[in-house]
């Protein structure tokens, strides 16, 4: 396939092929970083994954086809790195569930032993108007930040990024049942938080009504 040596050394000597790779970081670094940041827990890890992505991309540069944009191609590599990471972590942490909010805690927070609501779910006033308020979104972001990280990631990927459940499972390295549980709890907690901090708070969008 490549009788005269590795494609790497070819690239190294041909300036016009090698130079784009020097610019990758400037052109795509932040986009890749943000992509990773939404999917992994910490910053350094996201940075490492970006670095690994560039290095892997350089190694397989000859497999890049012009049909895809450079960024799409880099993200596809990054995506595999993220999936690998979650898979490795899942193997390592098998049996160690995230301790932040246990299923029982969420259940007991809203439902009695028989599975009925502890407190009635009350309506939200002028929910649609809330969307127009900048302040509502900062409350929303705060609430999202207060979720256990694994719930927040599931919610972000599914609802905000709009991925299909199967894609979210792949990205997070969890099975469908696990994702379902996370999304369920994320939504209940988020609902409660928005209710407390926005819909039922004194920062009600229509304070003059009272």
């Amino acid at each position: 396939m490549n009788p005269l040596g590795s494609s790497e050394s070819d690239l190294a000597t041909t300036g016009d092929l090698a130079s784009p790779a020097h610019q990758w970081l400037d052109e795509h670094g932040d986009a890749l970083f943000r992509y990773a940041r939404l999917r992994v827990r910490d910053r350094e890890l996201a940075e490492d994954l970006v670095q690994e992505t560039f290095l892997a991309a350089i190694q397989s540069m000859d497999r890049f086809r012009q049909q895809a944009s450079r960024q799409t191609w880099l993200i596809a590599i990054l995506r595999r790195k993220i999936v690998d990471h979650h898979r490795r972590r899942a193997t390592r942490e098998a049996g160690h569930a995230e301790p932040v909010v246990s299923p029982e805690a969420v259940r007991g927070r809203y439902f009695d032993e028989e599975g009925f609501w502890k407190a009635a779910v009350s309506p939200w006033k002028s929910a649609d108007a809330a969307i127009e308020h900048q302040e509502f979104w900062s409350v929303f972001n705060t609430c999202l930040g207060d979720l256990p990280p694994s719930f927040a990631r599931a919610f972000l990927l599914r609802t905000i990024e709009g991925l299909e459940s199967s894609e979210v499972c792949e990205q997070l390295g969890v099975n469908a049942g696990n994702l379902r549980v996370r999304l369920h709890r994320a939504r209940l907690l988020l609902r409660e938080c928005l209710e407390t901090r926005w819909f039922h708070s004194s920062r009600d969008p229509e304070p003059r009504m009272r």
Binding site: A21, F54, G115, I160, R191
Partner: protein
């Protein structure tokens, strides 16, 4: 038997599993038994009707927030300077025309 079990589920489902179905319905199509159980329960349970309305709203609002990009958490975040330098150095290193000691091109590290 399975028919009876389905019927029992439809007739006896409580708010907690219903809240799971309400959430799940935002992601997937529910099976017949689940759908009947959910809809039957919603007829008699005001809190769960309220919940469905709110979770649907939440789902749509979050999607709209994303498209208005008011909800792009950490979107302003960028690679730190240190990370940038480190990554640039590693890219440069891997592109460097290394002298070819073995004479056969050598495998990638």
């Amino acid at each position: 038997m399975t028919g009876l079990r389905s019927l029992a589920r439809i007739l006896t489902i409580r708010c907690e599993p219903v809240s799971d179905l309400i959430s799940h319905q935002l992601d997937e199509r529910l099976g017949v038994t689940d759908r009947l159980a959910l809809e039957g329960h919603l007829i008699v349970c005001k809190s769960c009707r309220q919940l469905r309305e709110q979770l649907r709203w939440l789902h749509d609002a979050a999607g709209r927030g994303a498209s208005m990009s008011v909800l792009a958490p950490r979107s302003e975040e960028t690679l730190s300077l240190e990370a940038r330098e480190r990554i640039q150095a590693s890219i440069r290193e891997s592109l460097e025309p290394r002298p070819d000691p073995s004479g056969d091109g050598g495998p990638p590290r």
